[in-house]
């Protein structure tokens, strides 16, 4: 059996075998069958993603330390952080929801950012060790459950709801959350796992070209 040419890919969404054309910088390739975006070629995407990931880490830390907003009513004020929200649910007896909220808006985004940074750092000097591949899979899985954008909208809706009853003052945390939403979206737009895989050492000890 002849080895498969390197430029043949199977679309992950429809399994159509096709030849990946040589793309100019900034070019995109879509699947001929189902139209899935197969490749988005951006020059310097690894460096750009690294810069975005560092910024996202800072925004994430700020978003988790600073209060999101402050509410005043009848001469008293209350404020909350992101984890404070989960904690309030826990104390009110909704423990399962509290844990899931913490997973979706604190743990998953944290893992997503940290794994991404580790992958990018390790891939700078190919051949990258095997764990880079494992981490890439984990980054993808964390991304599925990371819901910072949804949380942001949820906070804004509750802000509007509360504003009809009490005085609401936005905190630094909410601005950090806004920045984090933007940075996470920019990371997923600029990161291309297909650029990392050729740099990763194979599990069977063979290298690229040993396709069988």
């Amino acid at each position: 059996m002849a080895p498969l040419p390197q430029d043949i890919v199977a679309c992950p969404d429809c399994d159509l075998l096709q030849r990946m054309p040589a793309l100019p910088p900034g070019g995109t390739a879509r699947c001929l069958g189902c139209g899935l975006m197969l490749w988005l070629k951006r020059p310097g995407s690894l460096d750009r993603t690294m810069a975005l990931a560092v910024a996202a880490l800072i925004a994430f830390l700020l978003a988790n330390v600073e209060p999101l907003m402050e509410v005043s009513f009848a001469g008293r004020t209350s404020s909350t952080t992101i984890l404070g929200g989960a904690q309030a649910m826990w104390l009110q007896g909704e423990k399962v929801t509290a844990v899931l909220v913490a997973l979706f808006v604190v743990v998953a985004p944290a893992l997503e950012i940290v794994f991404m940074l580790a992958v990018l750092l390790a891939a700078r000097r190919p051949p990258a060790p095997r764990w880079v591949g494992v981490l890439m899979r984990w980054t993808e899985m964390s991304g599925v459950w990371s819901m910072v954008g949804v949380m942001m909208l949820g906070i804004l809706v509750s802000l509007v709801k509360i504003a009809s009853l009490a005085t609401v003052e936005p905190g630094i945390g909410i601005f950090a959350v806004g920045a984090l939403v933007f940075l996470l979206a920019a990371i997923s737009a600029s990161f291309n796992p297909r650029e990392i895989w050729p740099r990763v050492r194979w599990t069977n000890g063979e290298g690229p070209g040993a396709m069988r």
Partner: protein, 213 residues
């Protein structure tokens, strides 16, 4: 369209689900083994996608009723105790004059989960009927489903932060209702359902030349 599409499965080539590397199956045996590059177990299609997705859709539909009928939060003041369901929250936002937010919550909390359940059922049924019509549209529908599913968590976050911020007992406080748990269950089950469905099934049914099995 009856033009035969050369898919990986027909050519005996397996793309790795993790890294995308194509491997050729060595023998006629069933198991394609592991990816030589990243070590992930290789499979031509996901395991039992139709049964698993149906099971998750049914479980999510069961949770959908209490999620909408039970209150998601309760507002307590000195004069009153007002439980609010999802729809009640939408009506209240609308009555308060923020119809844009009312619409956003309505779309995220009611239309997205319901639409996602119906759309997944439609995809499963068309795959089971081996339909070859509108495959590109169905492929796009599936991608939209995967992207928007998480947005139905919106009301859970609204409840979470309302509970955390409105703590002025005994004058005014908000506590979560049991609807929140069911609602979270619907969101998680539908995300898993979209993940266990294999979009390549949409393309498997057709594509062989006319008259050929």
């Amino acid at each position: 369209m009856t033009r035969p599409l050369l898919t990986g499965a027909r050519a005996g080539v397996v793309p790795c689900a993790a890294c995308g590397l194509l491997s050729r199956k060595h023998g006629p045996e069933e198991e394609p083994g592991n990816c030589p590059r990243c070590g992930e177990a290789l499979a031509f299609r996901l395991h039992d996608p139709i049964q698993r997705t149906w099971a998750l859709i049914i479980a999510a539909s069961i949770c959908y009723l209490p999620a909408n009928l039970l209150p998601v939060m309760t507002t307590k003041t000195l004069q009153s105790v007002v439980p609010t369901t999802i729809i009640g929250g939408v009506v209240r936002l609308y009555a308060d004059g923020s119809w844009v937010l009312a619409l956003i919550v309505l779309v995220a909390s009611v239309m997205i989960p319901l639409g996602k359940l119906l759309a997944l059922a439609y995809l499963l049924i068309t795959v089971q009927l081996r339909s070859v019509r509108r495959r590109r549209e169905r492929a796009r529908l599936y991608r939209i489903l995967k992207a928007i599913g998480r947005w139905s968590m919106l009301d859970v976050f609204v409840a979470t932060f309302s509970v955390a911020l409105v703590r002025f007992r005994p004058f005014m406080s908000v506590s979560p209702g049991s609807g929140v748990l069911f609602f979270t269950a619907v969101v998680i089950l539908t995300i898993f359902a979209a993940d266990t469905f294999d979009p390549r099934l949409i393309w498997d049914s057709g594509g062989t030349p006319r008259g050929e099995k």
